[in-house]
Symmetry: C2
């Protein structure tokens, strides 16, 4: 039951789009997927070994521009395995907003401290939003070409929607804290 191996699934999913090295997988996770998933090198490389052991991917060692690379490619068995997993209904999406936690206990901080956490959060979201908006625009333009793009776009849209909601909440929350201080 505890045999989900989600990192392996994500990697398998990414490799179903195109063959990649572990390093490239990490980059992908840190950019396109960063707003809803993440993984460290310390989990990616062992996961790739596990996938190869189970014959879900194959590895090919090459050298490009004098750099050693290991390019992983999904196998038919890997595609089957991925397809099966994709069909399994999601049990739960996990979120852990430390910011909300600190705000929930905000009485221990006072309005000033609480506002700092909100502004800190807001700054990160403001940074990420243009990127997500860029993805959506870009993908919307090319989605006639490949159906994959439509699915990427839908997820990016999720990011935009939620980030916008976050920002609206930041304004409202700060407003409430201001009113609180004035009294």
């Amino acid at each position: 039951m505890a045999n989900e191996k989600k990192t392996e699934r994500v990697i398998l999913g990414l490799l179903s789009h195109e063959s990649m090295t572990g390093y490239e997988i990490k980059k992908r996770l840190d950019t396109s997927l960063s707003f809803f998933w993440g993984a460290s090198f310390g989990s990616i490389y062992p996961a790739l070994n596990g996938l190869e052991r189970d014959k879900l991917v194959t590895k090919e060692e090459t050298t490009e521009n004098g750099r050693d690379k290991i390019i992983y490619t999904i196998t038919d068995q890997g595609r089957e395995c991925l397809a099966k997993w994709l069909e399994v209904p999601v049990v739960k999406d996990e979120v852990r907003y430390e910011t909300l936690l600190k705000l929930f206990f905000g009485a221990g901080l006072g309005p000033g401290g609480a506002r700092q956490h909100i502004e800190n959060f807001e700054a990160k979201i403001r940074m990420g939003l243009p990127l997500l908006e860029g993805f959506v625009q870009e993908l919307d333009g090319i989605r006639e070409l490949e159906k994959d793009h439509t699915y990427y776009m839908i997820t990016a849209m999720f990011g935009v929607k939620t980030y916008q909601a976050y920002l609206e909440w930041c304004e409202e929350a700060k407003e409430i804290l201001n009113e609180m201080e004035e009294k």
Copy 2:
């Protein structure tokens, strides 16, 4: 650096509001905090022991209605420790939306399968939203009485905002999938 012990912090925070048993802490996490944090019994009870060992909480064994309970109370040292942690800026909020993951690889599912994941997600959100709206209303009514309530309300507002955004996204996403199928 890896010494964050977040579960202990959450518990400490909850106990800063009022003394509780481990079981009650779990219930609190499963209701008021469930949309941004979670923890299992298997992490709560050991965390309580750790907090007691470090003298951040005290335990009191009692019997209520013939039921044995262990009520935990935060100490002054515990409050100090919590206050220090509250001031530390949040590094990152973590999210792991398995739903988005499966949608991202949605080409392997087709529009029908993708729609199922969205509807599954939507159903959960629709269930949770009225609860959150209830919290906000309730807290808004009593927030003059205790300043704590304002902070709870702000977090509940976050839940409402994001859940509403989720639902809007669900509609848009389904619309796009419909268009895709018609072609």
